[in-house]
Amino acid sequence: MIKFLLKRVGVMALTALCLTFVVFFLTNLDPNLEKLAKTQGNSRMSDAEVASWLEKNGYARPLLIRYGEWIGVVPGWTRTAPDGTVAGRCLHRGAAPETAPAYCGILQGDFGYSTRFRADVSEIIATRLALTGTLMFWVMIVMIPSALIIGVLAGMREGSRADRVLSSFSILWTATPEYVSGVIFIAVFASSAVGLKWVKGSAASAMRDVTFENFALPVATMALYGMGYIARMTRASMAEVMTAQYIRTARLKGLKFRRIILRHALRNALIAPFTVIMLQFPWLLTGVVVVETLFNYKGFGWTLFTAADTNDIELLLSCSIVAVLVVLVTQLISDIGYVFLNPRIRIS
């Protein structure tokens, strides 16, 4: 078991390394650096001014060395300006040059400095992730039980009217992307276009205090899309289990339909959708970008979007690491949970 976990952690680190390098390479392409210089300096800088800004802020050196600095295997740069002030990678917090460490990469626990928010990346990621965590939590609370219930109800009597109605809705939900359903929801439930005005179209106030009014629409938008997919998977799995011979055994034992479903079919039918649910987490990350931007909820998705928009290199890199972590940790949970649900492959 420990060997297995170590292997997984190793894979995770390797993936993160590759992905961050790709992100680093792309964000350090010349046009992107120029854009960064212009947003940080002023937008009417000449090419020479851009070059000197990049030189002054340490961007003009070889890519690999700077990537090494970010990782924390190459000492951070320092530069003494003509006026005698010392600038450097590890000095951005106003630390004295004498006491500042030589290395300040992620290996030292320093995730860098956000050029857009002018704050430590780790601080930003922590607060924004917490906000997104709240959103995710409510999405999962709504999405998983309802998707499973819909899937089980549809799958337990394959081909029945209930099955067809529920399946049609699931397909419809899955086929509608969030930026469409989100806009429709705002128009119908929150704007004066229809006039219902039951809930708010913005989730900005939910960052301080979550209420039904400010959180219903973003949660619904995200949950519905994922729900259709999970429900379809559960339905297929349930329908297959219902034709299994051990269900016939249970029926011919004289069990009631209810008991057959609850005691015999459910656990077997949930083995396959469990993996799918876990795969939904990484997917939710992208959905979060659309929904948070749309509803002005400043969580992780919104941060990712803003960072990409302003070519905030170190923030983007940390976002990538978070994404890799989320994907691989959910995979791990999925694998372990699968073993737990399915006694046939349980550790002997």
Partner: protein, 691 residues
């Protein structure tokens, strides 16, 4: 809700069941009647698709959405099951009528502990408390003779062997002491020695609890061993019904007779009692002929008489409740012996073609699916040595897990050997994978597979598949040439040439296997490994396919390695037999030597376990205790020592030393510690009364 009733437990009266599809109504069972008295065991025999399982599900009123009872009644202890509502049926299912299924693994819930599944029965039917249900379940596990009930109670189904799983299914069925037990091919998925144990158990428990039984099987021998009465079905109808002795000794329907003549009996050999195949194929439900369903395949068929009106059941005077569905019953001479086939003459075996020496095959498997874990070694083959001559049939016999299929894979180059040699045509081939073998060698060493349903490409026509094989074997240079050769091959396996354009789904099982044989012989095969070539086929076509294989072999002087678990068929066609157990050769000799004492103790048990459909045969019952040990952890010393009934004659030697393979007569070797004198004390297992 059990009620008292005098009279028959089950009365089925002119029952008809149909399945309704979008296209048409498919009648599955027609005009079927059957009575089961209290304590009686009735066998329901027929080939797959004849409607016997539909009858069972009809009794259970569990025909699915498409199935419906169109006419007739099913009275259980005097009450009509067809008129009962769902709650009433639920009370009867599992309580009054219980069922045992063909595949025990699939019939048990894989995600639920065995004990839990057993406890459910008394808890729902008798509102038993958890504690009482638990006690009953533990007692029942003991009753079905499983070791260590407490451990089994906590186990998941996949942790038990096939035989143990079936014992659990039986325990579950008997939990509420039902009045009627329906067994739907309960041992078909099990090995013969395990089957013998299950049959013993069912018979004993049936007697103990006074349960009536409906025993559904395609195996006449099993029915003879377990039942009091028998009902033979063909294509949705009962064709003959009566007591076991009446039907077995005084049969009055051509189908019953043909069925008996097409199955091999281990008590007789090919010269004394030839196999007669039933011509033609089983009719599909919507293509049944007018008049008698068996008409087109019947040797007594007479136009104008048999194909006009529906035939009804006729009582046979003088016998007890013995009926048959044949119009020509009084005219037929039922005692006439079967026509003797043309004498084929024996073929002298030639030179040694294939030589296997000290062959070993170990598999390394991961102990755990998730974490990999420590690798374990499966010892599938352990020092196998034998040789096979030209034009000889060498049968390889043993139960599942004995390593016979692994041996086939090594010979064919699908797996490399771990040790030892396989010599073919002067070359050592044990480590040449099939992809690197020269074309000619691949063509020379071919295989006929067990399951013809899975081994043909479903989206390629039959002719195309054979031509593809010819191309791979390098036969012929042009397409036209190969086409000609392919048509010749179809002639060879007695399929009409028009079949070349058919898709595999349009063929019956027997026809598919003929295509498989044609493919195997396409490259002038010198050695053909046939891995259970007929075990997936219906009884009535098995004989025909076996005959074809033998005929081709005689004609082409091919060496046939016939892998089988069925000793009766081996007796018919093999020249020599090799008995395998847990990767070892335990006995090797000519067919006559194997089937007569002295035996290896395992061969003796194997012979005793084969159900024989002949009332005149008496055999000694030897039921092996326990299961085959795992090849991951084989017992020390003799591989068979854990189940051997002769072990106490030798003593501790069996547990410490693997016996050597020694020759006790020319060409007859045994792997056993028993002394010569002890071996000669063995009695024949199978004896025919009138000899």
């Amino acid at each position: 809700m059990k009620w008292h009733h005098e009279g028959p437990v089950l009365e089925i009266d002119r029952l008809s069941i149909s399945f309704f599809t979008r296209l048409r109504e498919i009648p599955a069972v027609m005009d079927f009647s059957l009575t089961i008295q209290p304590g009686e065991a009735v066998g329901l025999v027929g080939e797959s698709g004849c409607g016997k399982s539909t009858v069972a599900l009809g009794i259970m009123q569990d025909l699915g959405r498409t199935g419906r009872i169109t006419s007739g009644t099913i009275r259980f202890k005097g009450r009509d099951l067809c008129k009962m509502g769902e709650p009433e049926l639920r009370n009867i299912r599992g309580d009054e009528i219980a069922m045992i299924y063909q595949e025990p693994m699939a019939s048990l819930n894989p995600a639920m502990r065995v004990g839990q599944q057993l406890m459910e029965v008394p808890m729902i039917h008798e509102s038993a408390s958890k504690e009482a249900a638990r006690k009953l379940a533990l007692r029942m596990i003991e009753d079905v003779r499983l070791p260590d009930p407490a451990r089994i109670f906590r186990a998941y189904p996949h942790q038990l062997s096939g035989g143990q799983q079936q014992r659990i299914v039986i325990a579950m069925a008997l939990m509420s002491k039902p009045s009627l037990l329906i067994l739907d091919e309960p041992t078909t998925a099990l090995d013969v020695t395990v089957e013998a144990g299950i049959v013993d158990l069912v018979k004993g428990l049936g007697r103990k609890y006074g349960t009536s039984m409906l025993f559904i099987s395609h195996n006449l021998g099993l029915v003879l061993e377990t039942c009091d009465r028998i009902c033979v079905m063909y294509s949705g109808e009962a064709v003959e019904r009566g007591s076991i002795s009446d039907v077995f000794e005084d049969m009055r329907h051509p189908y019953t007779q043909a069925l008996f003549r097409s199955i091999p009996l281990p008590g007789a050999d090919k010269t004394a009692r030839p196999l007669v195949a039933i011509p033609g194929n089983f009719p599909l439900p919507h293509e049944r002929p007018p008049g008698c369903n068996f008409g087109p395949r019947c040797t007594f068929f007479r136009e104008g008489q048999c194909d006009t009106a529906k035939v009804t059941m006729q009582p046979i005077p003088g016998n007890d409740r013995h009926e048959s569905r044949c119009l020509r019953m009084p005219e037929i001479d039922w005692s006439a012996p079967p026509p003797l086939p043309v004498a084929t003459g024996t073929v002298e075996p030639g030179e040694v073609v294939l030589k296997v020496e000290g062959l070993q095959k170990y598999y390394r498997v991961a102990a755990n699916a998730l974490t990999g874990g420590a690798k374990r070694v499966v010892k599938a083959n352990e020092t196998l040595s034998f040789e096979a001559r030209e034009a000889e049939t060498l049968a390889i016999v043993g139960e599942s897990g004995c390593g016979k299929s692994t041996l086939a894979k090594v010979i064919l180059g699908l797996q490399p050997a771990t040790g030892g040699t396989v010599t073919f045509g002067g070359n050592e081939i044990q480590n040449i994978p099939v992809a690197r073998r020269p074309r000619e060698m691949v063509g020379n060493l071919q295989m006929v597979f067990q399951n013809p349903f899975d081994t043909l490409n479903p989206s390629m026509s039959v002719g195309h598949q054979i031509m593809r094989a010819l191309e791979i074997f390098g036969v012929g240079t042009t397409v036209a040439e190969r086409r000609e050769r392919m048509l010749e091959l179809l002639d060879l396996v007695k399929l009409p040439r028009a079949f070349a354009n058919r898709m595999p789904r349009q063929l019956s099982g027997g026809q598919k296997q003929r295509v498989g044989i044609a493919r195997a012989f396409a490259g002038n095969a010198r050695v053909v490994v046939a891995d259970e070539p007929v075990s997936a086929l219906d009884v009535s076509v098995q004989a025909a396919v076996t005959d074809l294989l033998m005929e081709l072999q005689r004609e082409k002087r091919t060496t046939l390695l016939f892998i089988s678990h069925d000793l009766s068929i081996v007796r018919y066609l093999a020249d020599r037999v090799l008995v395998m157990y847990l990767g070892h050769v335990v006995e090797l000799g000519t067919t006559a030597q194997i089937f007569a004492p002295p035996y290896h103790p395992y061969t003796e048990a194997l012979l005793s376990a084969v159900p024989i459909a002949d009332t005149k045969v008496k055999k000694e019952r030897i039921v092996l205790e326990g299961d085959i040990p795992s090849a991951v952890n084989p017992p020390p010393g003799c591989p068979f020592q854990t189940r051997c009934r002769w072990k106490d004659k030798v003593g501790p030697l069996c547990e410490t030393q693997t016996p050597p393979l020694r020759e006790i007569a020319p060409g007859h070797s045994l792997k056993c510690h028993l002394s010569e004198e002890q071996l000669h004390l063995m009695r024949p297992v199978i004896q025919t009364e009138d000899t």
